[in-house]
């Protein structure tokens, strides 16, 4: 192709083929004024601010829509151009309130900047001004139509990023405005409040409610860090003024590239919530009472020592935290392994992806997401099973929806017809707990029709025959009875997946939280290997991790059988290495898992526990059992940022710093280690968990002297081969994806390229087993649980965000209209839900998106908690409980009957 060389403002510029004049100028460092053009969105040519003079052209041209051509001579600031821009500004100001003195956007307003640049103080046109009422219907941001310049950025960004199309231009002429379908408030539209529109707005038409009056744009200091909610690992800038976070801005991280969801954008106000813990608390005469750090830590050190001396090291256990940094998780497991001498260390990964870690380690040799998030754009087929991605991992959800709109085929299996299902090319509504049957039927079809990747199977895998034998009789017709899915759909899904050049499997807790969780994961691994869809970009087995740092907590050895880097405690060589590094004998037997620790607490084998930043009183199945177990402990310490339902039961509560108040690293779902930076000081006497653990270690007589998180990270690097090359300096910017063994290693975006971690990929023969509890006459309905967009996990953070709790203040039970009719209830009516474990009352939400005999409850709400009902039956391999399936009965709650539950 011929090189494109043109002259812009007298400067020779070489343009990329296909570049517009605007882009060619930008690449040469010439910024052309503009209002509608935004990032990589397709240009709309709406605002005309970017007009330029092209030699030989009759009229001025909108540079954002004109392709750069060889030999063009372009003026971006000629007198004619300036006159045109002044006229556009004059026209815009004719219908724009000049209230810059109080406008939230002042200082970051493009209209203000251009009016200043071209010295347009006021409009020369008199006449009517727009007088639309503002849309203040939602708790996140306000739309002031009267300040809108109708540039269309918000319309475009909503269509392209969250792909909600919540707004468009409506009405005509002077009355034109950007609004929702039927001109209702955003709260009643398809808006998901990701805030992309707010960030795109060049003027003060869209402004966050939280930031109002909190500081001028030029007073805000941005601090780049990682969102503390889900495992996507979005980079976010915290905007700080006077020691407070007054706003947020999406960062340009590899996972999120400038966009966030409602939680990351508007849900971080919990940091300054008045209920933050500010001093240590010690239970005195049954009441948690303020204490000093010395008192609290002396007591903790003494009681832990006494327990160990009296009942042995294994009478103590710890829960690390998927919310805390790598460095903190490393220290806590080190304290318990080296300082106390027990492997009773676990964390909430047990509840989400323990089966992934176990299953993928068996099949591939490494229990993590095989590919990168951005990879989804390269897949021809995306198979999403058991993941409500747009709600649970919204920013990955955007990327799936975009890939689908741009041509990828979307296959979805989910018991609820969630948004992805609605948009899918093939949708299978399987019954909860029937995944192995569904996947085996797909593989049966693939093998029967000769669609398997024979070469991949021969060269890269082993034990294929055993697996093929196991799916010999699992026809789609056989599976139809178990799954409730039409055999035709199963065949279509199987063929689509097998025939794809690149197919990616994305799954989450719909797969893992079962007594067959490990089997489900093995089946997914089987399917990927059967078709050769692994080890290349756009393919892979991609479990979406739940928490911001659940991957890191696992990496750091917050698991009973592993030291950091998945090095087994029962491997003598490994242990010898750690014994040398830590200077002490270490226990060789893997410890107890989370739920086993709770059982042992109830039976008296575990006497004391240290819980860091976890809330089993809401997150764990069968909450009554959790309460009894924790109550049976002699001594419970909880370090947290709020007095959670679990902390309320503690003997000592330690006030911790939150993500915004400390330095460290988080690892996102794609194994990417990223920097967490301190933006503000912790409230009161609260300390970072690493400081708490270090101080406790010193009180327990260990000679620890960690001064900052970097020092800890350096120690981690020395002991964890997959982190060997991950130094603090290298994490600036995009971070690094492990394995990264040496300082010159670039990190690993895709696992198992050419060779699996364990050598050959291993097929497993998996037979369908039903869930531990199936519906019967007494409890005839299946309950499944999960997340909703606006809350996170046990709600300790999201429920303390004004916006998030404002828009979603209550739990609910989703049910099919037929079931609702049987019960005689409508949406909003109170319903009692009973299982063998307990009962709760919550509001009905009637929807056709769920199966007739299935109900769904989000587990974020401590009141009417779903986990009062769930079953703690465990997967035999991964020890993950079956949070996704149990049997319940529903009863209407008549008026006047007071609820006692």
């Amino acid at each position: 192709m011929q090189e494109i060389v043109l002259t812009i403002d007298g400067k020779q510029v070489t343009a990329e083929p296909g570049a517009t004049l605007f882009q060619a100028a930008a690449a040469a460092g010439i910024e052309i004024p503009h209002l509608c053009t935004y990032r990589d969105l397709a240009p709309t040519g709406a605002c005309r601010m970017c007009v330029v003079e092209v030699e030989g052209a009759r009229t001025l041209m909108a540079s954002c829509t004109v392709p750069a051509q060889h030999g063009m001579v372009v003026q971006t600031e000629s007198p004619r151009v300036v006159e045109a821009r002044r006229m556009i500004l004059d026209l815009l100001l004719a219908n724009h309130p000049l209230d810059c003195l109080t406008c939230e956007k002042s200082g970051a307003c493009d209209l203000q900047d251009y009016a200043y640049r071209y010295q347009v103080a006021e409009s020369s046109f008199a006449g009517e001004k727009k007088d639309h009422p503002a849309d203040t219907s939602n708790p996140f941001f306000e739309r002031d139509h009267n300040k809108c310049v109708l540039c269309g950025r918000c319309v475009e960004v909503c269509a392209v990023v969250p792909r909600r199309h919540a707004v468009d231009y409506v009405y005509r002429g002077f009355d034109t405005k950007v609004s929702t379908a039927f001109d209702v408030g955003l709260e009643d539209s398809s808006c998901v409040f990701c805030g992309a529109c707010v960030e795109s707005c060049p003027v003060g038409a869209l402004t966050p409610v939280q930031s109002r009056g909190q500081g001028r744009q030029w007073e805000l200091t941005p601090v780049s860090t990682i969102c503390p909610y889900c495992g996507v690992g979005c980079q976010v800038d915290l905007l700080v003024r006077g020691g407070r976070i007054v706003g947020t801005r999406a960062g340009d991280g590899p996972a999120n590239r400038g966009y966030l969801c409602s939680k990351g954008k508007f849900g971080l106000d919990f940091v300054h919530h008045e209920q933050r813990l500010t001093t240590p608390l010690i239970r005195k005469q049954g009441v948690l009472t303020q204490a000093t750090w010395d008192e609290a830590l002396d007591l903790v050190a003494r009681r832990l020592r006494e327990t160990v001396d009296r009942d042995g090291s294994d009478a103590v256990g710890a829960l690390c935290s998927a919310k805390c940094t790598n460095e903190e998780n490393y220290l806590l497991q080190k304290l318990f392994r080296a300082g106390i001498g027990t492997n009773n260390i676990d964390h909430c990964a047990r509840l989400c992806h323990a089966s992934t870690v176990a299953g993928l380690a068996l099949a591939f040799g490494s229990g993590a997401m095989t590919n990168s998030i951005a990879d989804v754009a390269e897949a021809d087929v995306i198979f999403v099973i058991g993941s409500n991605t747009p709600e649970a991992h919204p920013v990955i959800g955007y990327q799936i929806l975009r890939a689908h709109d741009e041509g990828a085929t979307l296959v979805v299996a989910d018991p609820r017809r969630v948004e992805l299902a609605d948009r899918a090319d093939i949708y299978m509504q399987q019954l909860p707990g029937s995944d192995v049957a569904l996947l085996n039927a797909m593989m049966h079809t693939i093998i029967n029709e000769g669609l398997e990747d024979k070469r991949f199977i021969a060269e890269r895998t082993e034990d294929y025959e055993a697996m093929a034998q196991a799916v010999k009789d699992t026809s789609p017709e056989w599976a139809a009875d178990i799954t409730g899915v039409d055999p035709g759909a199963i065949r279509a899904a199987a063929r689509t997946f097998a025939r794809a050049e690149r197919a990616s499997i994305i799954y989450s807790m719909g797969i893992t939280q079962h007594t067959t969780g490990t089997d489900n994961v093995l089946s997914i691994a089987n399917l990927a290997m059967l078709c050769g869809h692994i080890g290349r970009a756009g393919t892979g087995v991609n479990p979406l991790r739940g928490q911001n740092n659940v991957q890191g907590a696992c990496d750091m050895g917050a698991l009973p059988p592993f030291f950091p880097g998945y090095q087994r405690v029962d491997d003598d060589q490994v242990r010898a290495r750690f014994e040398q590094a830590w200077g002490t004998k270490l226990p060789a037997v893997p410890g107890r898992t989370m739920l086993e620790m709770l059982d042992a607490a109830l039976s008296g084998e575990i006497k004391a526990m240290f819980i860091m930043g976890e809330n089993p009183m809401v997150s764990d199945p069968d909450i009554e059992h959790v309460r009894e177990s924790l109550a049976a402990l002699d001594f419970l310490v909880v370090a947290d940022i709020f007095l959670t339902e679990t902390a309320e039961l503690a003997d000592v509560v330690l006030p911790a710093a939150c993500f915004a108040e400390k330095d460290g690293t988080f690892v996102n779902t794609e194994r990417r280690v990223q920097l967490v930076r301190k933006a503000v000081d912790p409230p009161g006497q609260a300390l970072a968990d690493w400081e708490i653990i270090t101080a406790l270690a010193v009180k327990m007589g260990l000679n620890w002297d960690y001064r900052d998180s970097e020092q800890i990270a350096e120690e981690i690097r020395q002991l964890t081969p997959s982190y060997g090359g991950i130094t603090r300096e290298r994490l600036e910017g995009d971070g690094l994806q492990w394995p990264c063994p040496t300082e010159d290693h670039p990190g690993t975006p895709t696992l198992h390229v050419g060779k699996f971690t364990r050598g050959k990929g291993k097929f497993h023969a998996v037979e369908f087993r039903p869930p531990a509890e199936e519906p019967d006459d007494e409890y005839p309905v299946i309950l499944t649980t999960g997340r909703i967009l606006y809350h996170f996990h046990t709600g300790s953070m999201s429920r303390r965000s004004c916006g998030l709790d404002g828009i979603a203040p209550h739990g609910f039970v989703e049910m099919h209209p037929d079931l609702a009719a049987d019960l005689g209830v409508d949406s909003g009516d109170p319903v009692r839900v009973l299982s063998r474990r307990g009962q709760v009352v919550t509001g009905a939400l009637v929807t056709e998106t769920i199966g007739r005999n299935v109900v769904f409850m989000p587990f974020h709400f401590a009141e009417g908690a779903a986990n009062v009902l769930t079953n703690s039956a465990l997967d035999p391999v991964a020890r993950i409980p079956e949070l996704k399936v149990c049997a319940v009965r529903l009863e209407p709650v008549g008026p006047g009957k007071e609820d006692q539950s």
Binding site: A159, A166, D168, V170, Y171, R172, F182
Partner: protein
Amino acid sequence: MTDTCLAEIVDKYGTGKGSLIPILQQTQEQYGYLSRENLAAISRMLRLPESKVFGVVTFYSQFHLKPRGKYIVRVCLGTACHVRGAETLFQTISRTLGIAAGETTLDRLFSLERVACLGACGLAPVIMVNEATHGRLTHRKVEKLLARYRREGEAESA
């Protein structure tokens, strides 16, 4: 869920590009106006965002989001009609029907619209009632005309 009739209309025009406006026109013809339910169903069937459909509907003055009268009274306020007293004629009609421009009578017999020119300047002042044109109107004539339509309309619906 979807009305058979609406499904037939969509079937007739297809779901490709360019089918939205004819589908909206036909739907309005069939139901008298574009209800929220129908627009939502059209958006679903055409796989177009509701906001986009609503944007199109509100852009064109031919589309109506509220139920309209059996008789659509269009009063011409073009130049010729204007000089022959169209404004006072409009006021008489508005008073007689008890509705302002853009409104519909409670009995759903009449909707009232102001239009720019009906292209019958020789007959000024002129109004249209549905497809019928009535010219050279006076206040008395128009009152009689509306009374006649009212009688007819009531008789038909009785």
